[in-house]
Symmetry: C2
Subunit: 384 residues, 2 copies
C-alpha cells in the first residue's frame, strides 16, 4: 500500500505531548483532547513492575493521558504501587483530568526505590509545556530514552487514517515480548476488540521479531489509543499499524546497545510459519551469530547451527545468502560453499540482510537485530 510518512509522531490532530529529561530521570506526557478507546499488550514476565499492573487494570476504562518516566523501573520495591498512583495523581491534578483515565509506565533500573519527588516535579513542569505536532512527540520520545542513543518515532497516513508512535528500547528486547515502551495514537474509528486484535497482530510481526539480547523485561508496554474521529476499515488499519510498528521495531534493532550493524534476518522456504519464526528468533538470539557479524566474519555455519537447534535444517539443500543495498552473495547453496571473501567484504556495510532458505516449504518470517560488540558488554556491566 502507498503509505504517506508524516512527521508528527504521536501528535496527530487531537493529541499533544511533551517531555523533560533531568539527570537520571525523564518524564513524558501524551495528552489526548478526550478519553480514547485503548488496547494494550504487556510483558509476559511473571515479575511485573507496579505501573504495568496498574495500567493493565485501567486500560479498558479508556485512556486520556499517558504519564511515563525513565530512570527507574518502579519494579520490585515495596513502594511501587504507591508511586505509580502518585504519578497518576500528579498528572491528574496538573492536567485537570480524571485519574481513572491515566495510564502510567516506568523504565530504568529494577529494585531501586524511585525518587518520586523528582518525578512529580517533572510531571508538573511537562504539564505546562505540552506541544502539538513533531515538537511534542520528539520531546516525549526523548524523555523516555534510557540506553537509547536515538529517539524513535514514526507516523504514517493512508486514506486519511493516521497512525503515529514513539517508543524506547535498546537492550532487554526479547522476541517473546513487546518492546520496552511504545505509545501509538490513531484517529481510526474501530471497536475496542478490533483495536486489540489489530495490535496483537501487528506486535507479532514487529516488536516480537526484534532481538537485541534475548532478555525479557518486567516493564514492557505497548499502548494504542484511538480518538475515533475517522471512519476506517479494519483491513486498512491492520496494514498501516503493521507498517508503523515494523518501522519502530527496526529503529529499536538499529539502536541495539553498543551495536555497529543492523541486521535483517529472513527465513524462507519453511514448512510452516511457526518454523520460520522460530528459526529467525534462534538466529537473532545467538551470541555466536551476533559476534560473528561484529567481526565481519562470514560464518554461515553458526547461522545454520542456530536454525538447526530449533527446526530441521538439511545443510545439503538450504541456501544462505547475505545482501546489502548494492550486492548479494551466496554463502551456501546445494551443499556448495560460495565466495567467502566477497561475503566478508559485504559485511563491511552497516545494513545487512541475511536470508536462510530452508527449501522445504513456502513459509517465511522476518526479524531485525544487531551485532554484539564489546561495547554491549561494557554498557550492561556498568548500567545502574
Amino acid at each position: 500500500m502507498d503509505y504517506k510518512e508524516t512527521r508528527c509522531g504521536v501528535c496527530l490532530p487531537g493529541f499533544m505531548a511533551g517531555g523533560i529529561k533531568r539527570g537520571k530521570y525523564g518524564v513524558a506526557l501524551i495528552v489526548a483532547d478526550r478519553v480514547c478507546d485503548a488496547a494494550a499488550v504487556f510483558t509476559k514476565n511473571s515479575v511485573k513492575a507496579a505501573p504495568v499492573l496498574y495500567t493493565k487494570a485501567m486500560v479498558k476504562k479508556g485512556i486520556h493521558v499517558v504519564v511515563a518516566n525513565s530512570g527507574n523501573a518502579n519494579c520490585c520495591t515495596p513502594t511501587g504501587m504507591q508511586h505509580a498512583r502518585d504519578m497518576v495523581n500528579e498528572a491528574a491534578q496538573s492536567l485537570k483530568v480524571d485519574p481513572r483515565n491515566i495510564a502510567v509506565s516506568s523504565t530504568g533500573v529494577i529494585g531501586k526505590p524511585m525518587d518520586i519527588g523528582t518525578v512529580r516535579d517533572l510531571i508538573q513542569e511537562v504539564a505546562t509545556n505540552l506541544s502539538s505536532g513533531p515538537k511534542g512527540s520528539i520531546q516525549a520520545a526523548k524523555a523516555i530514552m534510557t540506553t537509547d542513543t536515538r529517539i524513535k518515532m514514526y507516523s504514517a497516513e493512508y486514506k486519511s487514517i493516521k497512525i503515529g508512535g514513539i517508543c524506547k528500547g535498546a537492550g532487554m528486547i526479547a522476541p517473546n515480548m513487546a518492546t520496552m515502551l511504545c505509545y501509538i495514537t490513531t484517529n481510526a474509528r474501530l471497536s475496542k476488540p478490533q483495536l486489540q486484535f489489530a495490535l496483537n497482530l501487528a506486535i507479532e510481526e514487529s516488536f516480537n521479531m526484534v532481538s537485541v539480547d534475548g532478555d525479557m523485561s518486567t516493564n514492557d508496554t505497548v499502548l494504542l489509543m484511538s480518538n475515533k474521529t475517522k471512519k476506517c476499515k479494519l483491513e486498512d488499519f491492520k496494514s498501516i499499524l503493521k507498517h508503523v510498528t515494523v518501522e519502530l521495531a527496526k529503529m529499536i534493532a538499529r539502536d541495539g546497545e553498543g551495536s555497529s550493524k543492523f541486521i535483517e534476518v529472513e527465513v524462507c522456504g519453511a514448512k510452516a510459519q511457526a518454523d520460520a519464526r522460530r528459526a529467525v528468533k534462534a538466529i537473532m538470539n545467538s551470541p555466536l551469530v551476533k559476534t560473528a557479524f561484529y567481526g565481519e566474519n562470514p560464518n554461515w555455519g553458526r547461522i545454520i547451527a542456530a536454525a538447526g537447534s530449533v527446526v530441521k535444517v538439511d545443510e545439503r539443500k538450504v541456501e544462505v545468502s547475505f545482501h546489502c543495498e548494492k550486492k548479494s552473495v551466496k554463502l551456501l547453496f546445494g551443499g556448495k560453499i560460495g565466495n567467502l571473501e566477497e561475503a566478508r567484504k559485504l559485511l563491511g556495510n552497516r545494513n545487512i540482510k541475511v536470508i536462510l532458505d530452508l527449501k522445504s516449504g513456502s513459509h517465511k518470517a522476518v526479524g531485525w537485530t544487531c551485532d554484539m560488540t564489546p561495547e554491549y558488554v561494557n554498557i550492561n556491566a556498568g548500567y545502574n
Copy 2:
C-alpha cells in the same frame, strides 16, 4: 559418598591415550585393551557433523578406540563422511584394530573442508606415542582443545569402581546439550542399558546445566566406555558418574570464553524440579545477568527478571543471595532490599554462588556458568 580423586583421567588400568597439537590441528587417541561396551549422547541439533552421524551408528557395536581431532568440525562439507571414515581407517591401520569399533569426533570451525592429510599424519604419530596414566590423558585432553585455555580432566574412585574423563568446551555450550566433546572410561561391569541410563541421568545434572553462551553445537558428543573388569552396583556407579561429570562440567563453565568469574546458580524452593531447572537455565543464559557479574554489579533485578520470564516469581516472597567462600549477602528477602554495597564487594571474588529461593516449594536445581566479558565478544568475532 567418599570418592577418592585419582589423577589418571581416562587412562584407568586397561586404557592408554595420547595427543599432539600442531598448528590449527590436534589429534587425540584413546585406546582400550579390548572392545568396550559403550553408551553415548549426541547433539540434538538437526545439523549434525559427519563424525556424529558416523559414531552414532557404530556405538552399539562397542568401542575399542576413540579418534578425535580439533581445528575443524568436519561439518557441512561435501567430504564430511569420507573424512570421518578416513580418520577411522587411519586409526585402524596405525593401531591394528577393527575399524568397526572405532569412534570418531571432530571439533572446530564448521563449513570448511578438513585438511585430512595433516589429520592422518597426526593420527599416525599419536598412535606410536600412547601413554598410560596421567601423561596419556593430559596429552589427549590438550589435543582436543580449541578456545579452551585449560585442559579438563577428572577421575575418581569408590569401592574400586573407577571412572575418569576428559573433555573440551568453552563456548557454544548450551544447557540443552551435552558439552562439546567428552570421553569417559570406567571399569564398572554393567549392562549397556544400565550404562546408557546412568549416562543420561548424569548428563541431565552436569553438562546440561552448564551455560557459556546458550548456543547449541553441531558436534557435541559424550562417550562412555566400560571394560567391565569390576563388578559394580548401579546405584554406586550412578553417583560416581554424576560426581565426575559435574566436576568436568564445572571446569567448562570456569573456562568459559573470555570469562573472569565462575558462577554457580542455585534455584531452590521451587514447586517442581522442572521449574527449578528452567529458572537456573534462564538465569545462566541471560546476557544481562552475565554482563552484570562482569561489572561486579549486584543487580538482583536482572536475576529475578530472568527467572520470572520462565517461572512464577513473587518478588515480595523470594530471596536472592550471593555467596563466596567466606561470606554471604542477602540482596532481596521478603520484599526488602539488602546491603548492596556488601554484595558489590562480594562480587570482587572469582568464584560466586547465587541462590534464588522461590519460597514456593521444595525442589532445587544447580547449574554453572561464567560472566560475559568484552573478551568473549572479541574471541568469537575473530574465531575462524
